[in-house]
């Protein structure tokens, strides 16, 4: 009996083996799929822990989603060989020096083919010189600081528009609403300062009065004196391009003081899941800035439509994607399109390939100028209405009208 069972098992195993071999032999002939080659190794240092972790997680998920989507389709075809993506991600603990060391290590020791950048301008600025020194192509999802793109980096590309333009679309919206008094407050950090200067300048150029213009240290526990200054200036619209943690502190302490400007706009923070889950109902009515929404009529060959991207992403990660996620995925996709256009992994060829791109993706238009900046992206103002972010400006893309003033704390 035992022997019979053993024979039975081995018999099945033999049959299966024969089948697999037959399939392996016949498959290339039938499907004409390219041979599977070695993976393309793409390195990144991300802040998986520390201050920048909430933002960096969005980037990581965006990278993973791109790599998984590509690999599900077999990989990137280079010279007739389908090569899967292998992401090599290291945790820099939100320490920029550590990020620089890790990137050097990724290039010199781990032998990666290309690099994707960390979250944020400051971190990208810290690692870009290393990539430049080793002549490795690096694509940055969220490095919008103007200065980075004035350094003349040859091997750095970025998928976002430059930062000083970030909050500018707020100005025409405020004008359309007939408001004249605006305020700008921000933390003393690379991107926040640029976005603040940009919107402040734009407001002045448009003839609006900038009644309060303040900078404060990131991570401040007590923003009481800042709120006093804002209250005294009484802006009708306040722009605050600060990160998620600082946005939560500012919002919380405004609530303690029972104060809220008629319009309060953070930048991308308004849409970050970590912000929305922590702010809860307090986020209602807040304005924010985004480069992307699943409702926009964008599409590409890899992800399908913007709505498809959103649905597949949410199914995979359990939360609705923000523009940070998409920017990260598109950074990978930009590299992919560069490689496909070049037909090789040679850095110079891929760089030329990326510079020649001018096409639509789920993130909007993608076309890089000589600095490596994507000049195709449009910026939108969103507002949290009934718990959901909706585009409220510019008018031609708006899904709803901006609601203001934001209901006060006692009216909720």
């Amino acid at each position: 009996m035992r022997d019979a069972r053993r024979h039975g098992v081995s018999g099945i195993a033999t049959a299966a083996l024969v089948g697999v071999l037959a399939a392996a032999v016949s498959l290339p002939a039938v499907a004409q799929s390219p041979a599977v080659g070695d993976p393309i190794r793409i390195g990144a240092s991300l802040a998986l822990t520390g201050d920048a972790a909430p933002d960096s997680k969005l980037v990581r998920d965006g990278y993973d989603f791109w790599a998984e989507t590509v690999n599900a389709g077999g990989g990137i075809v280079v010279d007739g060989v389908a090569r899967p993506i292998e992401l090599v991600i290291r945790d820099d603990g939100s320490d920029r020096d550590q990020a620089a060391r890790l990137v050097e290590n990724l290039i010199a020791e781990e032998d990666v083919d290309f690099l994707l950048a960390p979250w944020g301008s400051g971190n990208t600025n810290a690692v870009a010189p290393i990539a430049e020194r080793y002549q490795k192509l690096m694509v940055a999802p969220l490095a919008a600081s103007d200065e980075i793109w004035e350094q003349g980096y040859r091997y750095l590309f970025g998928v976002l528009p430059i930062g000083s333009t970030n909050m500018r679309p707020l100005v025409p919206m405020v004008q359309d609403l007939g408001l004249t008094r605006v305020g700008v407050v921000t933390t003393d950090d690379l991107f926040p300062l640029l976005a603040a200067e940009g919107v402040s300048q734009q407001a002045k150029d448009a003839g609006l009065e900038v009644v309060v213009d303040e900078i404060y240290p990131p991570g401040t526990i007590d923003v009481g004196s800042l709120i006093t200054r804002i209250q005294e200036a009484a802006p009708e619209a306040l722009a605050a391009p600060v990160d998620v943690a600082d946005a939560l502190v500012l919002l919380r302490q405004m609530k303690e003081r029972d104060y809220l400007p008629p319009i309060l706009a953070f930048s991308g923070a308004t849409l970050v899941p970590d912000f929305l889950s922590n702010a809860g109902a307090d986020a209602e009515g807040l304005f924010g800035i985004t480069y992307w929404s699943p409702a926009l009529p964008y599409a590409d060959a890899l992800f399908g439509s913007a709505a498809d991207y959103a649905a597949a992403f949410e199914a995979r990660f359990g939360y609705a994607p923000t523009h940070d996620n998409v920017a990260a995925s598109i950074s990978g996709y930009a590299l992919q399109r560069g490689i496909e256009t070049a037909g090789s992994l040679d850095t110079t060829a891929v760089r030329d390939g990326m510079l020649s791109l001018d096409e639509t993706t789920v993130f909007g238009q993608m076309a890089f100028d000589e600095r490596g900046v994507n000049t195709g992206v449009t910026t939108y103002v969103v507002q949290i209405q009934d718990g959901t972010p909706v585009i409220v400006s510019p008018a031609d893309a708006a899904a709803a009208a901006p609601l203001w003033p934001i209901p006060g704390w006692s009216e909720r």
Binding site: I215, I221, Q253
Partner: protein
């Protein structure tokens, strides 16, 4: 102006609560404890977890945290710091800094890196007094911080263990000759210090989003408070906390918000270089 003064005093109470334990530990054991910020952050995370799991108000969590903090502080003192206390100061700093790294990594493993906040239903409740807004939450934080400070003072002045701690801090050798278990006394001192730190953590969780690495900035504030007060006494620590809170808020209002944190450390440096014993002179618990 009145708003800045109210803010400064209310926040200063919390800053004092950060500093009190550090001051006690140094006053009694002569150890500069870099792990103190971690006790505060642990308290904050536990308060946030209790809030998430049971909806327990952070103010009600304070007594629980006092007990937990006491156990942690006593354990850290007896298990680790005791071993190096008579060594050079660099040894104790290295040890406590190492413990801090372990604590932060532990927090990260247990709680993850996501931001965590507590949003109590009375967050927007407050009173208007003389043109200044006094948020109920801030008033509560201030009151609990002061109660913690006064409670610590009472324990040190009026109880047997307080007397023992003061005796040990005054003259360790003499205390040992009298048969006092100095290791236990040091453990009790560190336990009391960590208890207040853990309790203060619940207060911090009410105003700041929690991140595993936030301990360092809290520790810096605690150091500034203690340097201003002079190591080793409690009432000056309370006053120093408020002076720093006021400095921060008035600088923010009149000089500019970008200088408010700088103002704290300028005050710290000024006092440390001009009055190295602190604003209130050198006065230890024993005196």
């Amino acid at each position: 102006m009145s708003q800045a003064i109210v803010n400064g005093i209310l926040t200063g109470g919390l800053y004092a609560a950060f500093g009190i334990g550090l001051s006690l530990i140094y006053g009694v054991t002569r150890v500069i404890s870099a792990v103190h910020g971690a006790f505060i952050v642990i308290g904050a995370y536990l308060a946030q977890s209790a809030w998430m799991a049971f909806g327990l108000d952070p103010f009600l969590m304070v007594p629980v945290l006092l007990v937990i903090g006491f156990g942690l502080g006593y354990g850290v003192q007896r298990l680790f710091i005791d071993k190096v206390m008579r060594r050079r100061v660099v040894m104790t700093i290295t040890l406590t800094f190492g413990l801090d790294l372990i604590a932060v990594t532990g927090i990260l493993l247990v709680f993850g890196a996501d931001l965590r906040t507590i949003s109590v239903p009375y967050a927007s409740v407050g009173f208007d007094v003389l043109g200044a807004r006094i948020p109920l939450v801030r008033l509560g934080i201030f009151a609990v911080a002061v109660i913690l400070a006064l409670g610590l003072e009472l324990i040190l002045r009026r109880t047997q263990i307080g007397t023992t701690i003061r005796a040990v801090s005054q003259n360790r050798t003499a205390a040992e000759l009298l048969g006092i278990d100095t290791g236990h006394a040091f453990g009790m001192a560190h336990g009391l210090a960590a208890a207040v730190a853990c309790g203060a953590g619940a207060l911090l969780a009410l105003i700041q989003p929690l991140q595993p690495f936030m301990g360092l900035s809290v520790l810096l504030i605690a150091f500034a408070v203690v340097v201003l007060a002079g190591f080793g006494s409690i009432a000056p620590v309370l006053i120093s906390g408020m002076i720093l809170g006021l400095t921060e808020n008035l600088a923010g209002l009149y000089i500019g918000t970008e200088y408010q944190r700088l103002a704290i450390f300028v005050a710290y440096l000024a006092v440390a270089s001009i009055l190295p014993a602190g604003l209130f002179g050198r006065r230890f618990y024993a005196h």
